[in-house]
């Protein structure tokens, strides 16, 4: 559901209605509640209901997932964890040789990622060259 439609959901909805409004399966919503990503229903038991805030939170989780964040990371953030710079984004690690590993931030733009991959590829090729190759002696 687009973010602009959020206001259309009235308070006091059942889990099934919250699921339909968010497009997230009910089982997944219960899983989020158990993980602390989402608060429980407003009332317990027979009268359990969900509000607009629940829907907003679900939309936020979806948006963060679309950015490549994991639930563990999102839960950390939403629980008021440390600011973003200490809750890092996904990182890719390229193990080039037994003794060389390059870490690359995973949420950079596609063009930047392409550029980095090309550079890592060049580094890997360079390190694969034998010690006495002319390229290495020339320092190219």
């Amino acid at each position: 559901m687009p973010y602009s439609n959020l206001r259309r959901m009235p308070n006091g909805q059942t889990l099934a209605e919250l699921s339909a409004a968010s497009g997230i399966p009910a089982r997944t919503i219960r899983f989020y509640i158990a993980r602390g990503l989402l608060g429980g229903p407003v009332k317990a038991g027979r009268g359990a209901v969900y509000t607009e805030q629940h829907l907003e939170r679900l939309e936020k989780i979806k948006a963060l997932q679309a950015e490549g964040r994991m639930l563990a990371d999102i839960a950390h953030d939403l629980a008021g964890g440390p600011p973003a710079q200490t809750a890092p984004s996904p990182w890719w690690q390229h193990v080039i040789q037994d003794d060389v590993m390059v870490w690359v931030r995973g949420d950079v733009s596609p063009w930047r990622m392409k550029q980095i991959r090309a550079a890592v590829g060049e580094l890997a090729a360079r390190l694969r060259e034998p010690e006495n190759s002319p390229t290495r002696r020339d320092g190219k």
Binding site: T14, L15, A16, S19, I24, P25, A26, R27, T28, R30, F31, I33, A34, R35, G40, P41, A44, G45, R46, G47, A48, Q65, G68, R69, M70, L71, A72, D73, H76, G81, P82, T86, A87, P88, S89, P90, W91, W92, Q93, H94, V95, I96, Q97, D98, W103, G106
Partner: protein, 781 residues
Amino acid sequence: MSPAEKIASFAPLSAATGKPVNLAMQHLWLAGHILPAGARLVVEHVFRSGEEKPLEVIYCFPLPRDAALRSFRITGDGFEAHSELKPTADAVKSYEEGIARGALSTLARQYGDGLINLTVGNIRPKETVTVHLEILCGVELRDDGFRFRFPFTLAPAYHPRAKTALTAPGEGEMELPSSEFGDIILPRFREDPSALHQVGFDLSVVSQLELDETGSPSHAVRVRPEGNCSVRVALAPEKDVPNRDLVLDSRFKSVASQVLAGRTQDGHGHFAAIVPSSAFGGSTEAPRRVVILLDRSGSMAGDPLMQARKAIDACLGALAETDSFGLVAFGNDAQTFQPALVSGTRELRDRAHQFLMQVQAAGGTQLANGFLAAAKLLAGDGGDILILTDGQVSGTEQILAEARSTGVRLHCLGIGSASQDRFLALLARETGGVSRFVTPRERVDLSAVDLFASVGRPIASELKAGPNIQPEPPSFVFGGTPVLLFGEGGEATDDRIELSWNGGRLSLPVVCNDSGIGETVWLLQGSRLITDWESRYPSTQALASLEKRKESRVAARLLALSQTYGLASREMSLVAVVTRAGDRPGELPETRVVPVGMPQDTHFGAYFAAPPTAMFATAMFARTMAKPLDSARPAADVEEPMSVESAMMPRMSLAKKMHEAFRRRPSGGTTHEILIDLASRMDADGGMPGDTPESRAGATIVALLAFLSQGHTPTGGAFRSHVKRLVSFLQSVTGLSSRRQQLVAAAIELVRKGNAPPGDWIALARTPGPHWTEVEAAVLP
């Protein structure tokens, strides 16, 4: 034993406090029958709530090869209910409505890659609930026996868009892309499985042929014979932990066709036939075109890569100059030995050895990149690819679609303690190849040599069967691997199975002599067909949204198969809702996901490593799955498990086999290592190296007798290709003295009889010299 008694005897205790650990799932118990055509199993899951509020427990597990869920029964204090098979959307709706009503609800749903979520909701506080889940699955067949494999855990697997996180010390989690895997919920992976649920098993193995031996390379087992054709196999210790597959090997006393047939309740006859490869004739000597594809991803580091290198050297030793080979190593990218296939000359094999020595384990498992590079070497002119991999990948439908598009046969040797058996079996079968799967604690090199012996030279091609057989038989038959057929028939006394192939035909009678077997083989046929179709979402649909996929032809076929056979698939799921007095509608159960143990030979840090502390301030972080770290496999410390390399070794008792295989000889190396070394040193003409024709002939006889003394003949044992080539070399030898020519003829005659003369030929083969004196004393009467 009742579930309550099992809990009492199996309940894990906290190491710190000695108090019982509060687990949502306490126990998993496997029972049932294993036949050469497949297994019919009941997996008992005991869930127990130690909470003060209702629970919803999710257990995730992978299906074994060729498997489908049939039904479940849920039992507890004062109730018992049976599952219904419904289209997945309806099953989910029933489940959710049951949960909303406060009823005990259970859903078994299949996702991509054969992953299952078993969800049990509204387990009341302090309540114990048992789910008895019936599963049909296949086995890995060999001419002289079969291997059964059942997953007790789940391996984290490489997917370019998966993400992993370290959530606590020794605990990691993984997320797969929802666009491909829907709302699947994966478990957390525990480095230390000791505080997790307990597993156990008690199974019967039943065959039509007399059983020679049954054992397990994965678990300590008790084996109790129940007649000549049946044994009962149970876990020997009181309990075990969920950190590896159960692997059982059974071997027949003889090699022959088997037809298991019986009637179902509707009176129709159904059969499963196992036809050994030997029934199709012998292999040809046509030149081979083979590419060996080596997985050098991080998880292969250590012993597996070292063994794989040796194995490839030994495999190449079986090639003649008229054969062509290629070599590709893949991780994130593919490294190729030569840009085209090369001849199997000594010089090029030596260069291939140098190439292998510089291959290092690192990076992910971009399997498709690997086989596409290997297929390029074959240049559309036909041939075979042998893959050595741990196969720890997900998103397998896409890989399978790419594999089919290459048009070459893929043969797979899988290595792992947690199952990727389903995927690798499919990868081989869907491309016309064969597969084997070994545990990391077995010898990879010997299995590779055994598989390589049959690769590239099909025994039969263009295999055809009557219309009563489904699925269609494989196009090719390879040495050592039988053909498994399912079909209808046996109602009339003269019903037969008719098979024909390029150059031969075969007819087998079908006799329905056991009513119980009919239903089982019918269900095994269904589970096999469903598995095949599950893998056939075209590549675009494999990556399409779930809604789009449901509209596909594959989805329609799966729905029809599920309805026909009464088996679950991705399109149909199992659900049960139990309404009881005291249900509290609207109450929200607390969700618990059952954690699993990391596969025992996979290093936790390979998937859930923390970054260098200097770079990160927090303990929790996430990273993509693109590049798993190297896995440092522990040194082999095999304890109780016994059966190793059963198919590749001569017929002798398992205890003797173990002793022989791992006995470190005074001349250095175990028997197998020495044989692998001999195989690697063979020249392209099939003889052993030497300075003169006489010394070469002498060394070749000694090598031949070394293989023969361990049961390897031209038609049997892992080194059968090598033995054949050694014999072929000796047959071509001329110009020796008449006495030595006589010794050569006597040695060839010994091979024909299959008996090595007394003597430590293994030790002699390791000692320099032609050894004519020892040969003369031994081979002439």
